[in-house]
Subunit: 239 residues, 2 copies
Amino acid sequence: MTHSDVSYRRMSVEQRRAQLIAAALELFAHAAPEDISLDDVAHSAEVSRPLVYRYFPGGKQQLYEAALRTAADDLEQCFAEPQTGPLTRRLSRALDRYLAFVDEHAAGFTALLQGGSVAETSRTNAIVDEVRRAAAEHILLHMEVRAPGPRLRMMVRMWITAVEAASLIWLDEDRQPPVRELRDWLVDNFVALLTATAASDPQTAEVARAALALETAEGPVGVLARRVVPVVSGAAHLL
Amino acid sequence: MTHSDVSYRRMSVEQRRAQLIAAALELFAHAAPEDISLDDVAHSAEVSRPLVYRYFPGGKQQLYEAALRTAADDLEQCFAEPQTGPLTRRLSRALDRYLAFVDEHAAGFTALLQGGSVAETSRTNAIVDEVRRAAAEHILLHMEVRAPGPRLRMMVRMWITAVEAASLIWLDEDRQPPVRELRDWLVDNFVALLTATAASDPQTAEVARAALALETAEGPVGVLARRVVPVVSGAAHLL
């Protein structure tokens, strides 16, 4: 009796499934889906190839989608955050978790979002879209808007896309700038987009005013405001 | 002798190729690549199916990639703009052309950027990336930065991604808001991201100051500045 048979008998179906998904996620984190074989997953989980097939009869594509499903659930949790305190503090915490996820799942995250992967299907795209939608809903919830209008929704979705783009560039540029700097800058960008959108959308203006009231001079918006002043101080001719 | 044979003999190889690509682009503009057949293209161009194969032996995928290549060249031209006047006026003109392109090629644009299309390959993704890179280079050129640092580059790429996301949402929401409103808002977002990035990046601060000096009170930045004031006026506690 081999070691793998022993551990097979000791694990429940759910445990075994979770173990295989964890092994797959670890591999997909460091290489593109096309470069990972079911043998790699079996070897990494210390089980036989037929055992992997018993749990995932659809082979690599099914295992990939199950792994993606698990990763998507984790990712959606990044945005769950108590609805108290300044909005930028909540966003910073969510971004810390999101960027830790990006860091941990680098190769899989890149393959998934850059498109053109052999493992990409309408199902995998639907999972990615679901994560984006969930993130947008979380953020709108934190803004305490009952019925967000199209402009506010579009602004939040644009910011989420911008965060994804920045994450891909960050991985591509050997994780520069340091993650805290990237996070602070993404929060600054959120504040900037919210303020610019407030200029032409009454609902966003109301949300922005309420959000600004909760911010502190020592917080990200205070720092941003004081740093923006010298940049715009020469532009009095515009007012 | 049929009509199509006559026109075949009268056209040069290059003319015929361009005619087939134009017919394909027109079809791809209104339906996803998976829903267009070579027969559709032949019928639309009033030629026989074998004739299409003579020009595109690789079939639909080759024709799709050639059409995409042509569209990408057109799209890159959107960002060519004389380097004079306020930056926001140049950006507005480029966005007018870009959004007209999006409007005209709606289905193809959506299929291409949403991913998961059967016609998507590493080659089609490379063409899309090339357009993004060209757009970023054009914008950096307008900022007159000799050696743009990573933060300024990242900001420009984030804005381009945000513009793409907004364009997809705009098409999805029956082209609402009106295209001029969308364009003005995207310009506002650019100004906002530039200003927020200037707060933490000296090079961007220099670029932002130079850009603001060229803006006028009647232009987009003047309007934006005057509209932002009442939104932030209650936030004096942050300074």
